[in-house]
C-alpha cells in the first residue's frame, strides 16, 4: 500500500479553516487515484469533535496532537511536531492550505524535511506513478508552470483557498490516532502572544454567488457609490484588484487575484478592471464573467462572456435599472 496522503487541518480559535476542508475534497480524489489512505493531522489545545468532523468530510484517519501550548499557532512547535510525525508515518503527499499561517509553516517544514514545496497551487493532479502535478502561477499569473517533486518525500504543496470545492459531510467511519509529542516552553523561539481577529466586512467573498470586482476604473467616489448600489441590488459581495486596494476603495482582504483571493461565483462582474492576469487568475473559475470598461481594447473583453463598452458612470445606472426591472418580473 502506498504511503498516505496527508492534509494539514489548520484550526483557529477552535474552528477548522475552510481551505483545510477543501483540501480534504481534493486529497480524497488523489488518495483514491493512487489507492492510498487519506489522513489529516491536527494540532490544537482541544480536539473535541473536530477529529470526527474531519472524518465526516472524507478522511480515513486523523492524527491528533493536543496540548495547551498548541492553542495558538507557534511556528517552532508546529514545525517540530509535524516533521516528527512525517518521519514516523512517512506520508507520500502533504497538502497545506495557503493561508497566512499555512504559508508561514509549510516552507519551514519542507526545509527541515529537505523536500520540495510548491506555493499557491491552483491545480492538482496525480499521475499513475503517484507523482503529484502541481500547477503554480508565476509572473503575476500570466504564466503557469507544472511543478513536480519526483524524488524527495513527502511531495508538498500549499493550495490556495477557493481552488478546490468543499466536500459535503457524510456519515463514515475513521480512525483517530493521538500522537504523543514532546512539547515544552523552551522549544518556542518565536512565540505567538495573541491573535487579534478583525471581523470581515459584509459577506465573505468566497461564499458569495455574485461577486462585483472593482478595478482602477471604478475608483472615484461617485462611481464607487454606483458600484455599491449595484452590489446591493444583486446581493453581491465586493472585491477588486490590487490598484483598487492601493487607492483605498477596498480592503486587503477584498483583494482578488494572484496575491489575493480566488473566487468562483456564479456571476462575476468586473467593473473598470483592464483584465491583467494578476487579477484574472483569481476569477477564472467564475461561471459567467461580465465586464464593463470604457476602453474597447481592454484585454478583459477577450476574457469575459458578456462585455459592455462604456463609461461606468453611464452604464451602471442603466444596468441597475434593468436588473431591478428584471427582479420585479
Amino acid at each position: 500500500m502506498p504511503g498516505e496522503v496527508w492534509v494539514y487541518a489548520e484550526c483557529r480559535s477552535g474552528r477548522l479553516m475552510d481551505v483545510s476542508i477543501e483540501l480534504i475534497g481534493g486529497g480524497r480524489r488523489i488518495a483514491d487515484k493512487i489507492k492510498a489512505q487519506l489522513a489529516s493531522i491536527i494540532l490544537t489545545d482541544n480536539v473535541g469533535y473536530l477529529a470526527n468532523d474531519l472524518i465526516s468530510y472524507g478522511v480515513d484517519k486523523v492524527y491528533t496532537v493536543e496540548h495547551p501550548l498548541l492553542k495558538l499557532y507557534q511556528s517552532d512547535l508546529y514545525t517540530d511536531i509535524i516533521c516528527k510525525a512525517v518521519l514516523q508515518y512517512s506520508p507520500e503527499i502533504l497538502l497545506i492550505g495557503a493561508t497566512s499561517i499555512g504559508m508561514d509553516l509549510a516552507p519551514r517544514v519542507a526545509a527541515r524535511l529537505k523536500t520540495g514545496l510548491s506555493a499557491h497551487v491552483v491545480g492538482l493532479d496525480v499521475d499513475e506513478y503517484g507523482v503529484l502535478k502541481q500547477i503554480v502561477p508565476g509572473f503575476g499569473g500570466g504564466v503557469m508552470a507544472v511543478v513536480t517533486c519526483p524524488k524527495a518525500k513527502p511531495q508538498m504543496a500549499t493550495v490556495r483557498p477557493g481552488v478546490l470545492a468543499k466536500p459535503e459531510k457524510t456519515i463514515r467511519r475513521g480512525e483517530i490516532i493521538s500522537i504523543k509529542a514532546e512539547i515544552s516552553e523552551e522549544m518556542i523561539k518565536a512565540r505567538t502572544l495573541e491573535i487579534i481577529e478583525e471581523k470581515p466586512l459584509g459577506k465573505p467573498l468566497e461564499e458569495a454567488e455574485i461577486v462585483v470586482g472593482v478595478g482602477l476604473g471604478g475608483c472615484k467616489p461617485d462611481t464607487f457609490n454606483l458600484i455599491k448600489e449595484l452590489a446591493e441590488t444583486l446581493g453581491a459581495a465586493i472585491g477588486g484588484t490590487r490598484p483598487a486596494v492601493d487607492e483605498g476603495y477596498i480592503k486587503e482582504d477584498q483583494m482578488i487575484g494572484q496575491s489575493g483571493k480566488t473566487v468562483r461565483p456564479k456571476i462575476h462582474i468586473a467593473l473598470g478592471a483592464s483584465g491583467a492576469m494578476q487579477y484574472m487568475v483569481g476569477v477564472m473559475d467564475s461561471k459567467t464573467i461580465i465586464a464593463v470598461n470604457k476602453d474597447p481594447n481592454a484585454p478583459i473583453f477577450k476574457m469575459c462572456d458578456v462585455g459592455i463598452v462604456g463609461d461606468l458612470n453611464d452604464v451602471l445606472p442603466r444596468l441597475i435599472e434593468e436588473i431591478k426591472k428584471l427582479r420585479k418580473n
Binding site: T99, R108, R191, D253, F301, V306
Partner: protein
Amino acid sequence: MVKIIVCIKQVPDPKEFSKITIDPLRKTIVREGIQSIINPLDKHALEEALRIREKHGGRVVVLSMGPPQAIEACREALAFGADEAFLLCDRLLAGSDTLATAYALSKAVRRLKPYSLILCGNETVDGSTGQVPPQLAEFLEIPHVTRVRRIEIGEDEAVVESMLEYGYRVVKVKLPAVLSVVKEINTPRILSVFGIIEASSKKINQWCVSDIDASIDMVGLEGSPTRVTDVFTPEVKRRCEVFSGPVEEAVGKAMRRLHEIGVF
C-alpha cells in the same frame, strides 16, 4: 544591533509582465528586454533596516543572489543607504528552487556572522512563493516570522505584528531571526542624488559557491527537489460577446443576451 542583513532579489518589473512569453519548443520563459528592478517588498525590508539602524545603530548589509546584472540591484540598495553589499553569483546556482536558494543564502549569511537580524520582503513578484525567508531561517536554525507589518526591537528579542487574513498575530521573537515584511510596514524613502554618489564608492563583494563553502550537490538544479515539467499561458475560453454603442442600447442588448444564456 550588530548587523542587519537585508536579502534582496532583482526581478523583472511587474509593469512589463505582459511582455513575458514562453518559448514553446524549449519550454522556457522569455523575458528579454524587460526592465529589472529591486523586488518591491525588498525595498520595504531595506527601508526598515535603515530605520532600525537610525534608532539602534549597527550596519546594514545587503545580500543578493542572481546573475551578474544583479549588481545593479546591489548598487541601488547602497544608494538607498546600505553600508555594504554582497552578491552571490555563480553558474552553479542556476536553476535553484526555494530550498536550494535558501541553503545558498544561509551559507553566505554564516560568512557574515555575527548578525542581529535578517530582513526580507515577504515574497517576490516573479515567483510569489514567500518560501525563501522561512527556509533560510530553518537552515540557520533561527526563528522566523512572515507577513510582518510592525517591528519593535528589544534587548535580545523583538515584538512584531504578523498580518493574518482578518487581523494579526503578536509575536515575541528571539534574535537573531528572519523577518519577512509586507508593504504596510513603512513607506520606502526616495533615492537621493547624494546616495547615488556615495554608493559609487561603496564596495560590492561578489562571492561564488566555493567562497561560501556550500556543497555543490545542494545548490542549483542538483540541490532542488522540485522540477518544472511544463510552462504554459493560461487559456481563457469565454463567449467574448461585447456590446458597444449608445449606453442604453449596449446595456439593453447585453442584458437580453445574459437573459438568453440564463444568467439573469
